[in-house]
Subunit: 344 residues, 2 copies
């Protein structure tokens, strides 16, 4: 039985606790928030909230602290995601507006997000699992050295040098280039890899002798290698100092948390699982995270769109005691702006 006023009490408990890091008591609630009831009444409400496991008292007779469940209710029902301030908006535009290449945009993005939220920011590199081939290019560098460039529609570019056994004139190289692009362009990267593995065999035997075919195979397999080694599953991080600053919110140490972030794999999995809610962002709170190391951490994330559909995710990570409203707003705004930028 949780009354409306009780929910209001939960809200101020969350807000005050996030602001002060101190368990909040009934008296300070009525004093600081102009409730028209007495402290004893609030105590009754708090008892009800505790019954519902929305708050707990760290020790007998101390103020209350929100539980993960309490934060969850707060996030779902009570936090309006207020738009960013004008200054913050401008910061985004100024900070991201002048970048050229994707690496640079993402590096700036992650730093910006860390700055806006005062948390650790994470940006996943555009995933190639959904990305498609836009263009493949072969550039002769020297005899027996050909630069193979793969351009995906997520904007990423991979390159590598192939060292085929023989040589090939410009004309058949152009033919190969045309053929490869005609067949592979538009395919998903994984499909393109499969195609390229077979392609050399299908070259017409009249015009492609043994050597030329070997040459083509070398180039194709270089591209395949790039597809496979692509940085699809990579995260970049900024703002580690912010996490350390909140060290006190973690029992023990933040070391395992930082390690988990640097390991990436756990975070990538988590990013993959998260679903946007009605605000356009996804939030995982404390023990909602499967990983035990993250049981005192919350993650706010959103997908961002590249040249087509969502290509990857970005977000922030911090102690469960974080400013969800602000962080959700910042993550959403940055994701949107980044999408717009990459979509151009």
């Amino acid at each position: 039985m949780v009354s409306d006023r009780s929910l209001e009490v939960l809200r101020v408990i969350v807000q005050d606790y996030v602001a002060s890091r101190e368990p909040v008591g009934s008296k300070s609630i009525v004093e600081r928030h102009g409730f028209d009831v007495s402290a004893a009444t609030i105590r009754n409400d708090m008892a009800a909230l505790e019954e519902e496991e929305l708050i707990v008292a760290p020790h007998t007779s101390s103020g209350r602290v929100p539980t993960d469940k309490g934060y969850r209710l707060f996030v779902d029902r009570m936090s309006e995601v207020r738009p960013l301030s004008v200054a913050q908006r401008q910061a985004i535009e100024v900070f991201l507006g002048q970048s050229v290449d994707v690496d640079d945009v993402l590096a700036r993005t992650v730093r910006l997000l860390a700055q806006l939220t005062h948390q650790v920011a994470l940006v996943q590199y555009p995933s190639t699992s959904r990305a498609r081939v836009r263009h493949i290019e072969f550039v002769p560098l020297a005899p027996r050295r050909v630069l193979c460039v793969l351009i995906a529609d997520s904007g990423i570019v991979e390159q590598g040098v192939a060292e085929p056994d023989g040589e090939l004139d410009e004309a058949p190289l152009a033919e190969l280039r045309a053929r490869v692009n005609a067949e592979a362009a538009g395919l998903r990267l994984t499909d393109a890899a499969a195609l390229l593995r077979r392609l050399p065999e299908t070259l017409s035997a009249e015009r492609w002798d043994e050597d030329a075919r070997g040459f083509a195979a070398a180039l194709c397999s270089a591209i395949v290698e790039q597809i496979e080694s692509t940085r699809q599953e990579r995260l970049i991080m900024a703002g580690a100092a912010n996490l350390v600053r909140t060290e006190i919110d973690f029992t023990g140490s933040v070391t395992p948390v930082l390690e988990a972030i640097e390991e990436q794999v756990e975070l990538l999995k988590l990013f993959g699982e998260m679903e946007r809610d009605q605000h356009g962002v996804a939030v995982r709170i404390g023990r909602e995270n499967a990983a035990a190391t993250l049981s005192e951490a919350s993650v706010v994330a959103s997908g961002y769109a590249g040249f087509g559909t969502d290509v990857a995710r970005l977000g922030v990570l911090g102690p469960t005691r974080m400013d969800y409203s602000n962080n959700m707003a910042a993550v959403r705004a940055v994701a949107r702006y980044l999408s717009r930028l990459l979509g151009e």
Copy 2:
């Protein structure tokens, strides 16, 4: 007046203090290191070392701790940089051996270095200040959209999309490509940028009308932009958790240290100043660092060579109380291996 035995005492003080983080006293020195003299004698030696400011006592009558000057003497005169263990060597080969592109190699390198040293590892992206143009490529993506790729001999590849006003057939585009490469290849990036700014004007007026010239100018300026925005001055970091683990070695907090690392600019400056010593690595200890935030930190760094001369530096950062021998050995070995890898 520092005797030979006194230096030996300094060595064990450094070693024991690094190992235990506890100020080391005269008694434990004779006990644990088989000195053939009494504790009182060691105390006299310690008084001499203290006179020379090589060690200090944190409080009256507690064990001694090395000063920056003490560490410096240790590093310069007493630490033989012992080769890595076989297992460590193998780790390097396995970890780095299978990478394809430069981004990937460097990402692996920095993680490996963090793992080998248990410190924060830093790798500077190959500097372009000395790098030269290897190849420039223009790839038509769509009408009025041309991908411009710049390949430098440091191995880095920059790309961006130019959006010229008009259109151009393949033939003049090929001519432009040939011309640009003929003139720019081999130049330092900065010289190439200067050249490319002028180049469109020098195109023969007969075959290049107003529009075509504008088109060429758009492509050239895209390349110039890439040169200017190149990631020359970028650091990647790994092992932040290691720094946090050594938090106790920093008075106050590691937060400012982490911030300084993430800011990059101070570190890049520092990297730029460091000179290799006879071991092939450079070491900066505590207050030797100009930046006040790093006055309790030491940096061990080495340059690595790319396709020619030194292109950038890599190293580790940690508390002054670090295992210099091991870290110097690891940095040197990784730098050498990376150089070999990039030189191929």
